[in-house]
């Protein structure tokens, strides 16, 4: 049972990160390869506050979210004009730079040892120390975050983000402040990722840099692409499905155990290529946010141009 609970929590954490990556990559059309490191930033912030200052891990997570938002946003803003390829690579380099920082800033992060004995949170006298209690805590947090993200995904805000993906210039011509829009989406995505990192720190109670290596970023991309770019629900489904399948690989009789790890990675590679080639929109493709069919009750107003106003009697002459 505890195995299921632990796996479930890990799925929740990954699902949050995959969703926030999807918000960037799928909805707003902004590639990002530093998600794992950003999660690390959140995890370290939370863990340090909890171990050094004795703050409840919940507030640590909140601080991790703030830190994630801050770093994600600063980077994205600094790089906002880059063309696709340059940005793509720069985000990989940024992942490496953050990872190296976690590894080398030994005075703070304790280098490759990482931080251990991270206390699980205590809120209003109730301590979430046992696995069951922490599961409740994580699930509650994840439910709130995922709920918010899903709510945002169906809003006019997300519509504007999709517009940003399709054409920034056009969106500006319609009076949208695309810079502010970017700022917001980077902040939301970074905050959710940072918070998830904090939750992970509480789950493992030990964190170390190699938990946040670039490989994890790639796996997160697999989740997003397989679930469906632009559909946050899809990311959740993909996280749960792929992790289950990954575990199921260990059940195949007759394969040598030394090959399981390689096979699992191979599996992710095959999923990525297969989805891109044969089901490019993913398991659950993106659907319109405001489909007419969803609002059968709304009737068009009488005169479509009435709101433009009427010409006054003042006839001008040439």
């Amino acid at each position: 049972m505890r195995f299921l609970m632990t796996t479930f929590m890990l799925m929740e954490v990954y699902a949050i990160v995959a969703m926030s990556l999807n918000l960037l990559l799928g909805v707003a059309g902004r590639f990002s390869a530093y998600e794992a490191a950003l999660m690390g930033v959140g995890a370290y912030t939370a863990a340090l506050l909890a171990t050094k200052l004795g703050l409840s891990l919940f507030w640590g997570c909140v601080a991790g979210a703030a830190m994630g938002a801050l770093i994600g946003t600063s980077f994205q803003i600094a790089a906002r004009h880059m063309d696709f390829f340059t940005f793509n690579i720069t985000s990989f380099a940024f992942q490496m730079a953050l990872y190296e920082t976690l590894l080398k800033w030994r005075g703070v992060t304790a280098g490759s040892f990482g931080i251990f004995n991270i206390p699980r949170p205590e809120i209003a006298g109730f301590s979430f120390t046992t696995l069951e209690a922490y599961l409740a805590f994580t699930t509650a947090c994840a439910a709130v975050i995922m709920g918010l993200l899903l709510y945002i995904e169906r809003s006019t805000f997300a519509l504007a983000l999709r517009g940003l993906r399709d054409g920034e210039k056009a969106l500006q011509s319609l009076g949208k402040n695309t810079f502010a829009l970017k700022l917001k989406v980077f902040a939301i995505s970074g905050a959710a990722t940072g918070f998830a990192g904090g939750l992970l720190a509480g789950l493992t109670r030990t964190i170390h840099p190699s938990m946040f290596f670039v490989y994890l970023s790639v796996i997160l991309m697999v989740f997003v692409v397989a679930g469906g770019r632009g559909n946050l629900r899809g990311s959740v489904v993909a996280v749960f499905l792929l992790i289950l399948l990954e575990q199921a690989i260990t059940l195949i009789p007759g394969i040598p155990t030394s090959q399981i790890g390689a096979l699992q990675r191979l599996f992710y590679g095959i999923v990525l290529v297969a989805v891109i080639m044969f089901r490019p929109n993913g398991l659950l493709p993106e659907s319109p946010i405001f489909a007419r069919a969803r609002f059968p009750g709304i009737k068009p107003v009488e005169d479509g141009f009435a709101f433009l106003g009427r010409t006054r009697s003042r006839e001008s002459t040439l």
Binding site: E302, G304, L308
Partner: protein
């Protein structure tokens, strides 16, 4: 020239390296009129549009909206002040539905603000429903594209996309609608439809329409006023009949036709030569 100008372009210069796109241009766009801006390729029309809409900054000179200097106002904020535009390469949002494309045109949407989304979901919803009703009506009035509001905009035909680009601008309720080649590549009936719509927006609703196009049918039959540019400078302006008989204009356009790349003519619309003979 006693026309009340809504946009005044004053001594605007703009160059791309050695290429001078606008050379000390001063133009008035009259309020509440359907104005067309024409000129051969490379005359600086699109650059002028970009400068007015704030997508490019002029090297020198000013842009005034109703007498107010807006030269330094960024493009997206000019929409609230009353200027919106379309693009030559359509630039609709291909993965959004037709309805969603139009919905994005509305200003001050509560649903775009995160705090309103979280704190006043009801108000957001109410406003959104209003906008949807409005958008559906716009689609209906614009016509042709209202059949399938849930169709992906990218799946529409080229002509329909041009109409959608127009429909999408309307909810901004700007004072000035600037359209970059809405008629190019359209079949003839569609051109007439587009022309009538633009005329209606100007005549019935008192909006200023500024059109840049090579389609002379659209320009000469529907516009009230025509501005001709050549080599980054103003060549002539006046009512269509005046402009079409202007000797300089004829000279420039005849020269243009000789060197016009063939794919321009495939729009199936009369070029200036036929219009000139009419």
């Amino acid at each position: 020239m006693s026309v009340e100008a809504i946009i005044e372009v004053r001594h605007v210069c703009r160059n791309y390296g050695d290429l001078v796109a606008l050379d000390d241009v001063s133009i008035d766009i009259p309020a509440g009129k359907f104005t067309a801006l024409i000129g051969p390729n490379g005359a600086g029309k699109s650059t002028l549009l970009n400068v007015i809409s704030g997508f490019e900054r002029p090297v020198s000179g000013q842009v005034l909206l109703s007498g107010k200097d807006i030269t330094d106002v960024p493009g997206h904020r000019r929409v609230a002040l009353g200027i919106t535009r379309s693009f030559q390469d359509v630039e609709i949002f291909p993965t959004l539905t037709v309805l969603e494309n139009v919905l994005l045109g509305f200003q001050d949407q509560l649903g775009e603000r995160l705090c309103r989304l979280l704190l006043t979901p009801r108000a957001v919803k109410r406003q959104r429903d209003q906008f949807i009703a409005q958008a559906l009506a716009i689609l209906k009035t614009v016509g042709i594209i209202d059949e399938r509001p849930d169709e992906k905009a990218g799946n529409l035909s080229y002509g329909q996309q041009k109409l959608l680009a127009l429909a999408r601008m309307l909810p901004t309720n700007a004072q000035v609608f600037m359209l970059d080649e809405p008629g190019s590549g359209l079949p003839r009936p569609m051109v007439a439809h587009m022309g009538a719509l633009l005329q209606r927006i100007a005549k019935e609703h008192g909006k200023s329409v500024l059109l840049v196009d090579h389609n002379m049918e659209l320009v000469l039959e529907y516009a009230e006023r025509v501005i001709v540019m050549h080599h980054g400078a103003l060549l002539a302006q006046g009512p269509p009949d005046y402009v079409r008989r202007h000797p300089e204009v004829i000279r420039v356009y005849l020269a243009r036709i000789d060197q016009d790349p063939p794919e321009r003519a495939d729009s199936g619309t009369p070029t200036v030569r036929t219009a000139g003979h009419a």
